[in-house]
């Protein structure tokens, strides 16, 4: 009799879950499930890519692992693309998306954003031997840049009298730097890091930042506890420098001192 009651109860419960509309898994639910479903990109190095052993690696993957560890639950990694990261959250296929995502008011109507955990920046890069820390320090140093890009426009705005050589594209601008035809290179920090990884003799240290775009973690709406927990986690990561170390490891530059929060 006792067994039968349990059985009926279980069937009813299962039926209840089947007909109920999908509801966001908030913090307590995730902990109860013992698993957190996190989406990461595999086509956006250094945020997420696939290594030789076909495993996802990158800043976002590290971040996902650390978050699962801090939550004390198992990590279920899902590979996502730029196009499906918002739908994955909106249809409850994922709890969290960490995918080098920029926040926009339109996206924020669909999903909720935490405070930024990393940032992509564009700036001027070059060797230690060139003592430049701000646009006004530029005198006769030549700076290579791809014409018409954000870095070109921002650099022209910040240093109108600098000796800027404009090339057709990023590859040619990079070639001008690597061949020594230009002493500095205006580009994205990830590009500078990638160039140094490929040729360790190159020195592309950040001289100054021209513009920076923070990356945010996205979660389902109506999960305030998870949002609060993630914001707290990011806040503490900024305080103890671990997020900055993560940025340095993957992007090549530490986070700036005045890193913003939502």
């Amino acid at each position: 009799m006792k067994h039968l009651t349990r059985l009926i109860f279980a069937v009813l419960l299962a039926g209840l879950f089947a007909v109920l509309p999908v509801k966001a898994a908030d913090l307590q639910q995730i902990i109860k499930n013992g698993v957190v479903r996190i989406g990461v990109p595999i086509d956006v190095p250094p945020f997420g890519s696939v290594d030789k052993n076909n495993e996802a690696v990158g800043l976002d993957v590290d971040m996902a692992k650390k978050i699962a560890e801090a939550l004390g639950v198992k990590l279920e990694l899902q590979q996502i693309t730029g196009a499906n990261r918002v739908p994955y959250l909106a249809t409850d296929k994922l709890d969290i998306v960490i995918a080098a995502m920029g926040a926009t008011p339109e996206r924020a109507l669909q999903i909720a954003f935490t405070s930024p955990y990393a940032a992509l920046s564009i700036g001027v890069f070059g060797p230690d031997s060139i003592a430049v820390t701000k646009p006004s320090d530029l005198t006769d140093q030549t700076i290579a840049v791809a014409r018409g890009t954000t870095q070109d426009l921002e650099l022209t705005k910040a240093a109108p009298n600098a000796k800027v050589i404009r090339f057709d594209d990023d590859a040619t601008a990079a070639a001008a730097f690597t061949s020594g035809q230009a002493q500095l290179l205006a580009t994205a920090d990830v590009v500078a890091k990638d160039m140094m990884d490929k040729d360790p003799k190159l020195q592309l240290k950040p001289k100054f930042i021209l513009q920076f775009s923070p990356c945010y973690i996205g979660i389902q709406q109506a999960s305030p506890e998870l949002l609060r927990w993630l914001d707290t986690y990011i806040h503490l990561g900024l305080l103890d420098g671990s997020l900055s170390a993560l940025s340095e490891k993957w992007i090549g530059t530490p986070l700036p001192a005045n890193f913003p929060s939502i």
Partner: protein, 223 residues
Amino acid sequence: MNYNFRFEILLRYQAEILQGVLLTLQLSVLTMVFGLIIGLGVAIAAGSPSKWLSVPARFYVETIRNTPLLVQLFIVFFGLPSLGLRLSADLAAVIALSINMGAYGAEILRAGFESVRRSQIEAGRSLGLTAAQTFRHVVLFQATKAIYPALASQFVLIMLATCVVSSIGVTELFHQAAFIDSRTYRSFEAYTLITLSYLILTLAFRALFSFIYWAVFVRRPAR
């Protein structure tokens, strides 16, 4: 079509355009001069009986005429620094263009030399002129007259080809138009303006070459 032409935007970039025109002119004239000097030397070497001169000269002409100018330019600008030779963009442009012009010029000049009949050279030699004197007084003048139109047309071609050097950051006319385009998004206006500029430059050069032809070959009776 719903496009509002706004050519007045280009007025803001007068200084850039003028500088572009001047640099294109400088590049063209320098390339013509150095290219012709290289071409003359190579044409003489290619026609020389000595294998040590003719083989390298043929090799140079064939290599340059069968590879893209852009590749030659990139080798001079991006490649040579690896060998320790770092040239400014402007200098690299003049060198690459001159090397290119030299090969075509050599081929045109060689055709001119060959157009002078062997009997004329023999006549020169039998009159007691040295080989060098025969070349200068008999061959060079007639050959130049024969190939003048081809040479003039090659000059115009190389002037138009100078726009390639914008890709190593030389701020010539095309580079300035691309710069204006990247700032104003007024592609049609910017490129129309430089099309006209190139057209005017070309017509001016053609007029100049016609005048030189008249002054050198027509006004002065051929000897």
